[in-house]
Subunit: 149 residues, 4 copies
């Protein structure tokens, strides 16, 4: 599916919004790809992001997946939009162990109000092949800017 942006400045807008997500600074998430309908966020492993067994917590895997989904949807929205997550579902497929985690989100169905997005979260360690650790399916909503509080 070829998706066309309706906002020529979509990539800048995604980057500016992402820069305001203070949680990404706290956990070390970086925006590493922005294309129409596709966004990737990369997170290096850190020992302070884990659950009881030393794997990255499912909620942190979800954090990068959700932001990637939101911005993948946002990249296709017209100017003066806001995006928020309506819902998402995450299947945890393997323990989130690895050195680098990448959440790759892709729009399945764009819409005027609701956009459905899928994100896969991969882990890589050394020169091993990347592994799919989680997959996410969610709904993102467009709101006119400055009207969502």
């Amino acid at each position: 599916m070829t998706l066309k942006p309706t906002n020529p400045a979509y990539a800048d807008e995604v980057r500016q919004s992402f820069a305001k997500q203070t949680i990404m600074t706290l956990i070390g998430g970086e925006l590493t790809r922005v294309e129409p309908g596709v966004v990737e966020i990369t997170l290096p492993y850190r020992a302070d992001l884990t659950q009881q067994d030393g794997y990255v917590h499912a909620g942190i895997v979800t954090t990068i997946g959700d932001s990637a989904c939101g911005y993948a949807a946002y990249s296709l929205m017209p100017p003066a939009s806001e995006v928020l997550a309506v819902e998402f579902k995450v299947n945890l497929l393997r323990p989130a162990k690895g050195e680098i985690f990448v959440a790759r989100a892709e729009v399945i169905k764009p819409g005027r109000t609701l956009t459905v997005v899928r994100a896969d979260v991969f882990a890589t360690s050394g020169d091993e092949e990347r592994k799919l650790v989680a997959t996410m399916q969610g709904t993102m909503m467009r709101l006119p800017r400055h009207k969502n509080d």
Copy 2:
């Protein structure tokens, strides 16, 4: 529904496992209630936990919801168990704004292998009534201890 623990030391085991979740130290989550089948985690608002509008990021809301679900399930498991999340679905009902967030998880259906749990995440601000900001429905799995890697 009255749920009976099968591990008399369930509360200590939940606390010991929670203490190993380094992510909780990073974000400031605290275990504030442990009963058979019911667990609460409390998270004070912090400006470094937010998305682009200054609300707590949906992934952090999910982080406390998921841990609450996992430990609610774990509280009913027999000794020498490990718990892991299989999947969860989260509906975001309102922007996560407030001073204090509480994720309250309750087991809906315990099982030998799989346990289904629901968590509600509430926000409170000053002396306002608490508001439901998210609700989560997930599946947690029991594994024999030390055999899940």
Copy 3:
């Protein structure tokens, strides 16, 4: 939570819309409760509704759950609305065996555009206590009437 209808004719509108769901005639589903934000659909067991083990198929459990959710949302919508399901998630808790199945849906969070609803599906057999066989969490959307094609 006390929910107030915004359409005084809500119960009639739910019944009229339900009567158009031809699938309900095919499977034998009946609308057995309509209150503001709460709808129940009842389905007697039939041998032609089953999966390979003779239990009612999860998709049929979902069919009554989804319609109950949709109409619970619809009961709170203003006049001249249409309702459609955006998404739902179902956890199957026990095999759907029994004589009578009741899907009870309740609105968790009404909204101008999106309404979040939960449905529990119970099975009863003879004079046994009812059993929860599935639980569902979904998002329903309001559209202005005659504008959704």
Copy 4:
């Protein structure tokens, strides 16, 4: 991903089990593809399968999606297994209008106990391009045969 069956008779077993799903006879669903980890079910439109607007009911879309997911998982299970659905989540992307509906399920992550599967449901009308009307992400569970009641 190349998936290998562990049961040489997988295709026959899928077909035999499908033949016992009485609901498929009722609604007119047919098993039209069985490969290791991939199953398709085809459903022609019928006027008695609809919701209030004349589109195929989301629960029926789910019925073929769920069976496709279950059998995609089952196709990879060892002999003497039973399969049951643990949970699924469905996003409804477009009204289910069309002449023929095909649910195509594909295993994302096979496992000894749990298998995660995705299904897409497509609609076709005349010589138009097929449209994705729903996408589903679910967890299927293996049980030893004859021990699931």
